[in-house]
């Protein structure tokens, strides 16, 4: 059956734009008005024709009704009223308006409430979760919406925006914070050159050519640098805040490629781009030394000596004790291949005293026992406020034992040396070694810490210094120094020439100065003068000269507790021969001209005298046994301090000996200064050779720094976990897949001794690696697809350098949560 009829007589026109429709069930033909009012009522207005009312209902509504109008002309077909209903279109329009209004209202309300940050942006990355307020990064976050609008209209300044990040993050200082890779242009250029040299001939992928054509060249190399937000997209939550696409990484690079196996530049000399700190020849050890060594000492594989660090990144040496000590521990306590087994700390430089006396250069008393030259450490000590470095340098090539042709300047420098030596020893005895750290720092520009200064001093016992001073200068040290400082220096004088080699004498605990007046230049008069001195001294408690007292028979020779002259007692048959515990210059008297009997024991004096048994000459007295003379150097075979007649020596005690390290470090610093370079070289000559004291330099290389100083590499090359390098490699995950070849899969030992030659200099750049070059094909075996990862960030870091940790430290608070009072 057909329901719908069309035609103006059969169907009303449905207007699609009307907003109201009839709410009645029969859908009256009138329909609602435009405002939704019901127009129901009579279906027509009957018309009066010839006095008769006739129905005027339209044809659409059915035409004239059969019922017809009433007698008064009222319509007989009244349509009941209804409540018009909105059309679907109207409902849709209302809903649309409401939806827009609700959305607008929600947005406005959300913008006006305080916690808008919680919905306006996505969650922060996990690394930034502790940031609570938007305003910590976005200055205008708490401002009104109008400010936001202004901000939105203002041009964006990525550099200024990045400063918000840099307020917490250190990226190499302000100058390098936004520089590509946080590196200066020179470094970038170097990297660029290296990469281009290693790159193949592959064409640049079309993606990059197109991107370059469309977007232009990446701006990373421009002066503005790379803003943080260029790579770091925040408010995305999760942990991928540092994720970067390979294309993004390569956007600035001159060498671009599609995949790691197909275009990545060759490795070149990676990872052997730096000379290893420890001079260790794998080839010779494996082929020669290990083959000869005991099986128990021989490593079976690489992991016997190397182990992954806690981060699994680098393969560290397991330590000296576990690797090298078994074979090399003995080297440490060895002295240099020639000379005394220890290193000289202090000494009495031998001087041409005759020339000095002849030239009228007054240096006071100077002993005959001498050390040839000035020990380098002593030079360093002298230069700390005692002697001008330039004067020291003047004496560098001078033969101090022959000053006959020396210039006045040299003679003056020699005199300065003598007085500086005395003054320094006096100070050391009074104030300690290197007590004036400030001067030392000022001299060498070194930031020496108290601990470093302590190590430089080597904790030398004062008694060692005291006995040395006593042996060398006796009690004259302080008085002569005082006289020199008063401008009245005593003339050059040696007892050796004038009083049979006896030490200077003291009386009553006070030093007796050998002044120029006392020390008469006339050779014949000097003995008498000294005899007189001796005569005055003999009653003293400190020292008695045996011969003098014996000959003169005067005084209580051994009255003093410090010094007893054995010979005198022996000859006289009385007294406590060795009453003095420090020094007994006994042999001279006992044997009439012999040496110091107990020199080697008590004061390190000349112990070359023959064994003497005093009791032989005094049979009625208890036997006094004097032990065999001891070689001080041999006595200190396990390391430590010892003294000979002319110098105080040190022998290294153990691996990583603090004294040795301190002086080699100091020498490296001095080497970098104009004034101290010669001193540094001297110390290196004495302590920094492969065959010198302690053998430190045999393994521990030195590296010259940009400022000219030399850093001694005390540790094996370790991966600085705080430093971010361009390339990172985690050894740990690779150890299990190396197969039968083990570490040799990547690290093939290079044969020969070439790699060791580079350790002869401080230049760490020009070196020969101890391993063959690695090839990327080894890596590409696994890292070719997504399984093992071949993205740029898999091996490379963008931020390169050593950066401090995020600095958002709170201020000190008391327990009550308040800041402490100032």
């Amino acid at each position: 059956m057909r329901l719908q009829l069309f035609g103006h007589r059969d169907s009303r026109y449905e207007r699609p734009t009307v907003n109201w429709c009839c709410g009645g069930s029969d859908q009256c033909s009138l329909g609602p008005d435009a405002s939704g009012g019901c127009r129901a009522g009579p279906m027509c207005h009957p018309v009066r024709v010839d006095g008769i009312f006739k129905c005027a209902r339209s044809g659409v509504s059915g035409g004239p009704c059969g019922q017809g109008p009433g007698p008064r002309g009222e319509c007989g077909c009244v349509v009941p009223t209804c409540i018009p209903q909105p059309t679907l279109r109207a409902k849709r329009g209302r809903l649309s308006r409401w939806a827009a209004l609700v959305a607008l209202a929600v947005v406005l309300i959300a913008l006006s409430v305080g916690s808008r940050e919680h919905w306006l942006a996505g969650p922060l990355s996990s690394a930034h979760q502790e940031i609570g307020e938007c305003s910590q990064c976005h200055v205008d976050a708490n401002a009104s919406a109008s400010v936001w609008l202004h901000q939105a209209m203002s041009p964006t300044d990525p550099e200024a925006a990045s400063k918000s990040c840099l307020s917490c993050h250190d990226r190499g200082g302000e100058a390098l914070a936004m520089a590509p890779h946080n590196q200066p242009p020179a470094v970038l250029q170097k990297w660029r050159d290296q990469t281009q040299a290693l790159a193949g001939d592959g064409a640049e992928p079309s993606e990059f050519r197109l991107a370059s054509a469309v977007f232009g060249t990446a701006t990373a190399g421009s002066e503005s640098g790379v803003a943080c937000a260029t790579c770091h997209q925040e408010h995305r939550g999760g942990d991928d805040f540092t994720a970067m696409s390979d294309a993004g990484c390569q956007s600035c690079h001159t060498v671009k490629f599609d995949r790691f196996p197909d275009g990545h530049p060759d490795f070149g000399n990676f990872p052997y781009r730096k000379r290893q700190n420890i001079a260790f020849n794998h080839a010779s050890h494996i082929d020669l030394h290990f083959a000869k060594s005991d099986e128990a000492m021989r490593p079976e594989n690489c992991t016997n000596c190397h182990a992954a660090d806690s981060a699994g990144m680098g393969m560290l040496l397991t330590g000296y004790e576990g690797t090298c000590a078994a074979c090399h521990d003995g080297d440490i306590r060895k002295g240099p291949t020639s000379g005394p087994p220890g290193g000289p700390f202090l000494a009495v430089p031998g001087l041409d005293l005759d020339t000095l006396a002849a030239e009228g250069v007054a240096i006071g008393y100077w002993p005959d026992s001498f050390y040839e030259g000035i020990p380098p450490i002593m030079r360093a000590l002298l230069s700390v406020g005692y002697m001008d470095v330039t004067k020291l340098a003047l004496l560098k090539d001078v033969d101090l034992l022959d000053l006959s042709s020396a210039s006045p300047d040299v003679l003056d420098a020699v005199a300065t040396l003598a007085w500086a030596t005395k003054a320094m020893m006096a100070d050391m005895l009074q104030s300690g070694v290197l007590s004036d750290a400030g001067t030392m720092r000022a001299t060498f520009g070194s930031k020496l810490t108290p601990a470093e200064i302590s190590r430089l001093g080597g904790s030398v016992p004062r008694d060692v210094l005291a006995s040395a001073a006593d042996a060398w200068f006796g009690c004259l040290l302080y008085s002569e120094v005082a006289a020199h400082q008063d401008g009245n220096p005593p003339a050059t004088l040696t007892l050796d020439d004038h009083v049979d080699g006896k030490s200077p004498v003291c009386a009553g605990g006070e030093a007796i100065a050998l002044t120029a007046d006392d020390a008469k230049p006339d050779e014949e008069t000097v003995p008498s003068g000294l005899d007189a001195l001796a005569g005055n001294v003999l009653g003293g408690s400190i020292m008695g000269d045996a011969a003098a007292s014996a000959n003169e028979g005067g005084g209580d020779i051994l009255g003093g507790s410090i010094m007893g002259d054995a010979a005198a007692s022996a000859n006289e048959g009385g007294g406590d021969i060795l009453g003095g515990s420090i020094m007994g210059d006994a042999a001279a008297s006992a044997n009439e001209g012999g040496g110091d009997i107990l020199g080697g024991l008590a004061n390190g004096g000349d112990a070359t005298t023959s064994e003497a048994t005093i009791s032989d000459s005094a049979s009625d007295e208890p036997a006094i046994i004097v032990p065999d003379p001891v070689d001080p150097a041999e006595w200190a075979q396990h390391g430590g301090w010892y003294r000979t007649a002319e110098a105080v020596y040190y022998r290294p005690v153990e691996h990583a000996d603090g004294f040795m390290r301190a002086w080699l470090d100091f020498a490296g610093v001095a080497y970098g200064t104009t004034e101290g370079r010669g001193l540094g070289e001297a110390i290196f000559d004495a302590m920094g050779q492969t065959t010198s004291l302690g053998r430190c330099a045999k393994c521990h290389s030195g590296t010259e720094q940009a400022d000219g100083s030399v850093t001694r590499n005390w540790h094996s090359t370790v991966l600085d976990t705080a430093a971010r390098t361009v390339t990172q490699f985690r050894h740990a995950p690779h150890l299990t897949i190396a197969g039968d070849k083990g570490c040799n899969l990547c690290h093939t030992v290079a044969k020969g001794e070439a790699m060791m030659t580079s350790y002869k200099s401080f230049d760490a750049k020009g070196f020969v690696p101890g391993f063959e070059a690695m090839t990327k094909d080894t890596c590409a075996t696994c890292h070719a697809g997504t399984e093992a990862g071949s993205e740029c960030q898999h091996c490379h870091n963008y931020h390169v350098g050593t950066f401090s940790t995020v600095s958002r430290m709170g201020r000190l608070m008391t327990g009550t949560g308040r800041e402490p009072e100032k």
């Binding site: 329901l3 069930s25 859908q27 809903l95 609700v102």
Partner: protein, 275 residues
Amino acid sequence: MSFGLSRRRGVCLFIVVVLASIVAYWASISSAALDHAGEATGWILFTVCLFLLLFNVRKRMPAFPVIRAHYWLQAHLYLGLFAGIVFFTHTEWRLPTGLLDWALWLVFVIVFVSGVVGIVLTRIVPSRLNAHGERVIFERIPAFRAQLASEVEALVLRSVREAASSTIAELYAKQLLPFLSGPRNFRAHALSVTGHRRNLQREFDAVRRYLAPEGNALLDEIEERVLAKDDLDFQYTWQSLIKGWLMLHLPLSCAMIPLLAVHILINYAFSLGAL
């Protein structure tokens, strides 16, 4: 569908896909220039959305027929598809994070999906409507439904009067009256299930055996109108669907405008240099 129309649609779809692919590829290679395509794709999307909204404005202005509405509709459809692809390019094919972005994302996706559903409906519904009963104007369905109900009621009364039987009246009271009083079986019609129609016919067959020939004649007339009412329900169901998706599509499109404005404002005010 004629070959010409099919070819025209194919060409338009091809153009849309090509243009969208260009935008997507362009966005993907922007990272190769250390650039972010988000700003550019965002503005493309915004412009396209504005154009899509203009279609509604155009429909409201029949007095100013700027290009035929038919062409506007076609442009709306294809640009809508284009906007969808650009949108997902703009979002980098990942889910949003913030509440605002989630709201905007959901609104756009619903608008887009409802638009796609609308396209599908406008393509398949007319033929279904033509194939199922008389095609009537949606707005007139209530009147026709009332007309049929009135006619059935009159026939039932007539059956009682002429056949002196209450069988048809009982059928009317129990089964037909609820059926005729409003739209029924919306879900069944939407799913093109016809079980309810067969059930009605079985009810008529079951009654028919108890009626005299006069009663059967009346019952035939009643059945004809009941089935016509079922056809009306079918028309109502599918015309409701074809008009109903706009109840989602258009209001949410309007709701998207303030959300878009805030999205742009915030991104420009706080992008820290990266859009």
